[in-house]
Amino acid sequence: MMLSVIYAILFYAATLLLIVGVGRKIAIYARTPAPLKIPTTPAPITKAGVVWRMTKEVTVFQSLFKSNKWTWLFGWVFHVALALVLLRHLRYFQEPVWTVVALIQPFGKYAAFAMLAGLAGLWARRFLVDRVRYITNLSDHLMLALLVAIGISGLGIKFVSHTDIVSLKAFVQGLMYFDLQPLPSDGFLLVHLTLVLILMVVFPISKLLHVPGLFFMPTRNQVDNPREVRHTAGWTAE
């Protein structure tokens, strides 16, 4: 039970840090003015066009595809697989479970391997491509290491030492409804959860800020209409 209490406290703390940290960043991004019109052109000339541009960037990494096919392949596979994995995890948080989440359960297994393959490709580039090696900091390796370790430990739970999914779900639900339930104390699970805690904490202070940041980039989200609509913000509004 001691263990359950510790993990419960850690999860509450990490969730708080994650939400407050990312929320704060989003607030700062939203508050910081974009004084000039700087969309990278050709850019859409309507709001709907911008939504379509952003949708393509977020779902198929359009610009990255133009840039570099290998990075695109590894990066896109990693993100899509990650999305599947995370969707699949929703089942621990929901009762009843959404139909979509139930439906994708079978793909989850493969998603984990795809995610690891994508990560491996991205990591390999950091060693093999001289230019990418040059710009890589230690933190970039560590981030990949963390995600790989989360993936491997997750697979460990699944294929090496099963955990009691029912009581894990009870523990997670207990956290959500402030009704503490015991956490199964299997090795892989504890490793997995510890790594996830670390990920949550570093999220708002690392390059994972690309997730909120991406939606605020003036070069991508501005409408190309400076002659038609007078834009002012920040120092240009003074």
Binding site: K25, I28, Y29, T32, P33, A34, P35, L36, K37, I38, T40, T41, P42, A43, P44, I45, G49, E57, F61, S63, L64, K66, S67, N68, T71, G75, R125, V129, D130, R131, V132, Y134, I135, T136, N137, L138, S139, D140, L142, I205, S206, K207, L209, H210, G213, L214, F216, M217, P218, T219, R220, D224, P226, R227, R230, H231, T232, G234, W235, T236
Partner: protein
């Protein structure tokens, strides 16, 4: 003067050198433009010389800039070091210096941002590549932020649109604010504030020049074509880069505009008060100066009582005019609402051609085999016409209406993928000749392909900087200097004077 250097080698039958070069650490570490004199800095509102405790002031200024610019803030936070931009910069491709890879250039500033403004950088600097602001950082900034032409090519290819140009502008603003300015930009800007143009050409000299031009053109063509200055009540105020008054091949473009106005029968004027389209304030990231220079144009337009403002062939000037004027000096509600404000001279000529208002004889250009260089600021920071990408279509349509032989360079080197001429962003100075020649390499490689395949002999551009840069660098790559010309030179040569008016 600069030490000797080797012109990069070009290859047969390719548009882009692939794979990109292996990097060579420090290959361009010696490149530094001349430092501005105190008078230049003070003339545009900055301290004359490096101030005391500049380290602290630079860090403070960085914080202010980040607070005031969503772009800067998200760019500095969000880069994932994916490397997609690393082979996209013409300066990296031409110099092989790894600090000319866009993300590495950003990191010169990001390392400071992280150190002073992020949790990770404050507590774990080594981990995230954060470092203290010191003299070696400043030296590196001065060198490498003057190896970025702010062309935005990296921004096209970054999955998030991170634009290194914005980072370079911020870095230059920080350096200026602590008293370390670049001579070329700051000296020129100071002249604009006093005289009204980059050349420091006062009204009488400008009037003389235009008069001389009228005589020359009349001698050449037998037609009296006017180059009006400060004419109140003219329909159009033409704002053009001052290089158009003097430099080759720019001046042929100016003659071309005059012929277009002449045949269309639209009254126009230049302004001696606002005799400059260029606005170098953008290059140094200075909002105050940007606005001050833009206001000259508004004031001139009101003073002259014109109905329209048209901007001549200049890349960054068109960006400033198209994207920023309305913000900085608008609203332009005193102009005729029937026309976009401002309008590009190419939009103007294109509309006239569409309406059949110009008589163009394509055969007059049969000696030319033409290709077109998309200037960065037109391609990636502005638009022409009423649809996205009009900036690629309109100039080509105008060329094709005026000439028979047109050949585009390879698709990966034109439109939004265009390679910078190598001289933009405030780098068009002789003290950066090595950088300029090496930075021109990717464009020269693509050009070589159309020269080899199609006997192209004419490179058309719509930017004063591109024209000067190519006139200087083409010979290094065994092309004649005269290969570069103005778009409106081609138009001007095709206009059948006396057939419409």
């Amino acid at each position: 003067m600069a030490a000797k250097f080797d012109t990069p080698e070009l290859f047969e039958n390719i548009a882009v050198i692939d794979p990109p070069p292996k990097y060579e650490e420090g290959a361009m570490a010696h490149s530094r433009p001349f430092v501005a004199k105190p008078a230049h800095n003070e003339g545009i509102g900055y301290p004359g010389e490096l101030v005391d405790n500049w380290e602290e002031k630079a860090v403070t200024r960085l914080g202010e800039l980040v607070d005031g610019s969503r772009a800067l803030r998200t760019f500095l936070d969000s880069c994932v070091k994916c490397g997609a931009c690393t082979d996209k910069c013409h300066y990296f491709l031409g110099t092989k210096d790894p600090k000319n890879m866009p993300v590495a250039r950003q990191d010169l500033l990001r390392s400071i941002y992280r150190r002073y403004y992020t949790f990770a950088g404050k507590h774990f600097p080594k981990l995230v590549g954060a470092r203290d602001m010191d003299k070696s950082v400043l030296d590196e900034w001065y060198s490498y932020f003057h190896q970025c032409s702010q062309c935005r090519r990296c921004s096209v290819f970054c999955p998030y649109g991170i634009d290194t140009a914005e980072i370079s502008m911020a870095a230059r603003e920080i350096m200026d604010s602590v008293g370390l300015g670049q001579k070329y930009c700051n000296e020129i800007l100071a002249k604009v504030h006093v005289v009204g143009n980059n050349l420091g050409l006062p009204e009488p000299a400008l009037a003389d020049t235009l008069e001389g031009l009228e005589e020359d053109v009349e001698e050449d063509t037998g037609v009296a074509i006017r180059f009006p200055l400060d004419v109140k009540g003219a329909d159009v105020l033409l704002i053009t880069p001052s290089a158009d008054f003097f430099a080759e091949p720019h001046i042929d473009g100016l003659i071309g505009y005059a012929k277009v106005f002449h045949q269309a029968g639209i009254s126009w004027t230049l302004s001696s008060y606002a005799s400059e389209a260029a606005n170098f304030s953008m290059f140094i990231g200075s909002g105050d100066n940007l606005k001050k220079v833009a206001m000259r144009i508004r004031d001139a337009a009101i003073d002259l009582g014109v109905k329209r403002i048209i901007v001549g062939e200049c890349g960054h000037a068109w960006r400033v005019a198209y994207s920023f004027w309305n913000t900085l000096a608008g609203p332009f509600d005193f102009l005729d609402p029937k026309y976009p404000a401002p309008q590009h001279i190419v939009e103007f000529t294109y509309d006239l051609i569409q309406r059949g208002a110009l008589n163009l004889d394509k055969e007059a250009n049969d000696h030319r085999r033409i290709t077109f260089h998309d200037s960065c600021n037109v391609a990636r920071a502005s638009r022409m016409g009423d649809m996205p990408g009009g900036q690629f279509i309109l100039p080509r349509e105008v060329i094709k209406a005026a000439a028979n032989n047109f050949f585009d360079m390879a698709p990966e080197t034109i439109h939004e993928n265009t390679f910078c001429c190598g001289g933009g962003g405030g780098l068009l100075t002789d003290d950066l000749m090595e950088l300029r020649v090496k930075g021109a390499m990717p464009r020269m490689q693509a050009l070589k392909q159309v020269v080899d395949d199609h006997d192209v002999n004419t490179l058309v551009a719509i930017c004063a900087i591109c024209k000067t840069q190519f006139a200087k660098t083409l010979p290094y790559y065994n092309n004649p200097m005269s290969m570069i010309t103005s778009l409106h030179h081609v138009v001007g040569d095709a206009i059948q004077l006396g057939t419409k008016e």
